[in-house]
């Protein structure tokens, strides 16, 4: 997908005007925040687990070269094939090659954020493969020709009416009429249609929530079971994963799993946590004949070597966006790419380039709620600020805002000038605003007064009044 993040203000404007989206986002916020809160409150060890998970991941990242090598050798020993991709193009080419070698015509996919990141579906479709997303949310947006608006619930912005219409349109060629509007009927229809796809797919592609160096295993966590059908029924199973997904062993996995579902959906465990190691064994009755893992760098090693290493602790739970007031206001599509909310505002500039996404780190109030709920304790506000520093150094941002800042910086460093300038300015403003107490509009303050009044200052500055009353004590 081509990043549209440079158009963030326009896209945010469209989102703000979308009443249906507002209702959907409200519903999501209440659900996700409340459920997480309950789950966290019910687990006294939550903070200790967070601390342990942070240590585990820091250790792993500090030795990522060795853990990747170990993962590779173990996966290979189990009969799997490990592939490497330095960037998105290599990842697409590698997976396409696997599909071609397998003589594949149809592919089912479990949800994979890195798959979205490298634009896998488009590449496979261009090569005339039929690609079917099987996570219900992903399936809905695939039918709609859209991208995920939420990392955990990709179709959160769609209403049941819209979904019914999509199904009616796309299922007509299968000889199926419009489904009813009930939730159960819609889910049953998707189950029926997608079941056919699973059974005829040649290749199943899934992401990985984790890779285990101890055994060369891949781990996926889902609630629907679509990932499991994708990795069990087709003849070839391909896992696409970022290189940061490695954990040393199963004890480490256990710790992080306890945080993941609670932070994502408020469950103690997601319904299906599945550990896959190699292809089917000799006498197994089912399972894929081939097992491939494609390890994708695409900017991650650069993060590892710099001031954004901590971002690689991210486990894609979505808690930061569920608690982000900016995300609540504009939803996922405004961010213009695969990753949204606070984690997206860090990852997108680092992966696609700050020049194409400099709005994202700025479109944040630094209120800190994301860091507070991040199960991996990623200092998201600090990272956003670091990106702002880079953006400032490279001269991004509007002329007006840079000039305004420069002017303020000039005053703030010169107390005498500040004192006399503010004394005059506040005196005038205070006098002008004394009757109404606030301004409905004011020259140069349109950013403020477009949406709210500007309360008038009292008139005299504090420092001036304080000196004037000098003998006060």
């Amino acid at each position: 997908m081509i990043p549209e993040s440079h158009r963030f203000p326009d896209r945010a404007g469209l989102a703000l005007a979308d009443e249906g989206l507002r209702l959907a986002l409200d519903r999501a916020r209440q659900g996700f925040i409340g459920n997480r809160r309950k789950a966290v409150d019910a687990l006294p060890e939550f903070q200790e687990l967070r601390e342990a998970a942070r240590r585990v991941k820091n250790h792993t990242l500090a030795n990522l070269d060795l853990y990747l090598e170990r993962f590779e050798s173990q996966a290979t020993a189990a009969g799997g094939q490990v592939h490497w991709a330095a960037d998105a193009a290599e990842a697409r080419a590698r997976i396409l090659a696997i599909c071609r070698e397998a003589g594949a015509r149809t592919v089912t996919k479990g949800k994979s954020m890195v798959g979205e990141e490298v634009g896998l579906n488009e590449a496979l479709e261009e090569a005339d493969l039929e690609v079917v997303e099987t996570d219900l949310g992903e399936y809905i947006i695939q039918l709609a020709g859209e991208t995920p608006s939420h990392i955990v619930a990709p179709a959160i912005h769609k209403t049941r009416e819209q979904i019914r219409d999509l199904f009616a349109e796309h299922h007509a060629p299968l000889g199926l009429g419009a489904p009813g509007l009930g939730n159960a009927e819609l889910v049953a229809r998707a189950r029926e249609v997608l079941r056919r796809e699973f059974l005829r797919a040649d290749v199943g592609i899934t992401g990985a929530n984790f890779l285990i160096a101890e055994s060369g295993s891949t781990v996926i966590v889902t609630n629907e079971g679509n990932g499991d059908l994708s990795n069990t029924l087709p003849r070839v199973h391909v896992v696409i994963a970022g290189i940061e997904k490695v954990l040393p062993g199963f004890e480490d996995l256990s710790t992080v799993l306890r945080l993941l579902a609670r932070s994502a959906t408020g469950q103690e465990m997601s319904v299906y946590t599945t550990v896959s190691t190699g292809p089917r064994r000799g006498e197994d009755l089912d399972g894929p004949e081939e097992f491939h893992v494609v390890l994708v760098d695409n900017g991650r090693s650069a993060m590892l070597g710099g001031e954004f290493r901590e971002m690689l602790r991210c486990i894609r739970c979505g808690a930061c966006l569920n608690h982000c007031p900016v995300y609540h206001a504009v939803g996922g599509h405004a961010y213009g790419w695969v990753y949204t909310g606070p984690m997206g505002s860090v990852l997108t500039p680092l992966i696609v380039g700050l020049d194409k996404a400099h709005h994202l780190p700025n479109a944040c109030t630094l209120n800190g709620r994301c860091e507070q709920v991040c199960p991996m304790s990623i200092p998201l506000p600090t990272m956003l600020r670091k990106l702002r520093t880079r953006g400032f150094e490279r001269g991004f941002g509007t002329r007006t805002s840079r000039m305004g800042l420069a002017a303020w910086g000039f005053l703030a460093r010169r107390p005498a000038v500040y004192g006399s300038a503010t004394r005059v300015a506040m005196g005038i403003l205070g006098w002008l605003g004394r009757r109404r107490g606030a301004f409905r509009r004011l020259p140069l303050a349109g950013g403020w007064t477009g949406v709210r009044d500007l309360p008038a200052p009292e008139g005299e500055t504090f420092q001036r009044a304080w000196r004037r009353r000098g003998a006060r004590r």
Binding site: A12, G13, L16, P325, V326, A329, N362, A363, C364, T365, L366, N367, G368, R369, E371, Q372, R385, R388, G391, F392, E393, G397, T398, S401, G404, L405, W408, G409, L411, A412, R413, P415, Y418, A425, M426, G433, R434, R435, G437, A438, R440, G446, G447, W448, V451, R452, D453, L454, P455, A456, P457, E458, G459, E460, T461, F462, Q463, A465, W466, R473
Partner: protein, 286 residues
């Protein structure tokens, strides 16, 4: 997150604390009443208060917008002006957070300045947290019994983000407000959610900021309080501005003004005698 030491009595025969008041630019320019209220509270709590001259800004706009050089220059002058005090107190969670949490970060590559910044940062406090956590229960006792603003019986408190998440300010203002005679505190929904001010954010992304402050104002109105209080003038200007735009008759004060019994003209209210009651103030906004 820091715990407030509500029950701790830190006042064992105290020598008067020398406190430097960090006014903050918004209080200085917009809301001197807050500054005078802060001084009264600190003096009542037994502190010796000084206002070092030549104060401007904590440097947060520069810091948050990536202009580290300017932020550093401002930081140096703050260190020089305030390092002689026992404590530095600001009537703002945001500015106190900047000084306490971020000042030393600015000198990552400058050990001598970093040390000075760290020594200062450790002594910086948000006002209500200073009164409760540092001055202790005897001092808090002396603050009892302020009268609420005229016509205000119930108030709701908005947690400003930096105070709450960088400094652990949550219970302290509520604890102090409980001692105001005849004032009931009611909690609004999502009190801890950002109001959409965010410094320069509110003018760079006005649409998003507008949505956020509309929701905040909706929650304030639903709480049914006569007034909304907070510890940061930035949030209060934003909230008062939106309340005014929507014509909602809720009055707006900095928490210090109410605690000091000095709350008269709410933020965004007319200056004349017309600002007598909440109802009048509200209708005057229209």
């Amino acid at each position: 997150m820091e715990q407030s030491g509500l029950m701790e009595d830190a006042s064992q025969v105290p020598a008067p604390r020398r406190v430097g008041l960090f006014v903050t630019c918004l209080v200085d320019l917009y809301r001197p009443s807050t500054g005078f209220a802060a001084v009264r509270l600190l003096e009542t709590a037994g502190c010796e208060v000084e206002v070092p001259p030549g104060q401007t800004c904590c440097g947060q706009p520069a810091f948050n917008n990536g202009d580290s050089a300017t932020a550093r220059a401002i930081a140096r002058s703050i260190v020089e002006r305030f390092e002689g005090f026992d404590h530095v107190v600001a009537p703002s969670g945001s500015c106190a957070g900047m000084l306490r949490r971020h000042l030393p970060e600015l000198f990552a590559d400058d050990a001598p300045w970093r040390e000075r910044a760290e020594r200062l940062a450790a002594r910086v406090h948000e006002l209500t947290s200073f009164l409760v956590d540092v001055c202790g229960s005897a001092a808090v006792e002396r603050l009892r019994g302020a009268a609420p603003p005229r016509g205000v019986r119930t108030a709701t408190y908005h947690d400003s983000c930096s105070g709450l998440r960088e400094l652990g300010v949550r219970e302290q203002p509520r604890h102090l407000l409980a001692a105001v005679d005849g004032l009931d505190l009611v909690e609004m929904r999502d009190a801890e959610v950002c109001c959409g001010f965010g410094g320069t954010f509110c003018v760079k992304y006005p649409g998003i900021s507008g949505r956020m402050v509309s929701e905040k104002v909706e929650n304030i109105a639903s709480a049914g309080a006569d007034a909304v209080l907070a510890g940061d003038v930035g949030c209060l200007l934003n909230i008062a501005g939106r309340l005014g735009r929507e014509g909602r008759p809720v009055r707006v004060f900095h928490v210090a003004e109410v605690l000091a019994g000095m709350a008269e003209r709410g933020i965004g209210e007319p200056a004349s005698g017309a600002a007598g009651t909440g109802a009048v103030a509200g209708s005057s906004r229209g």
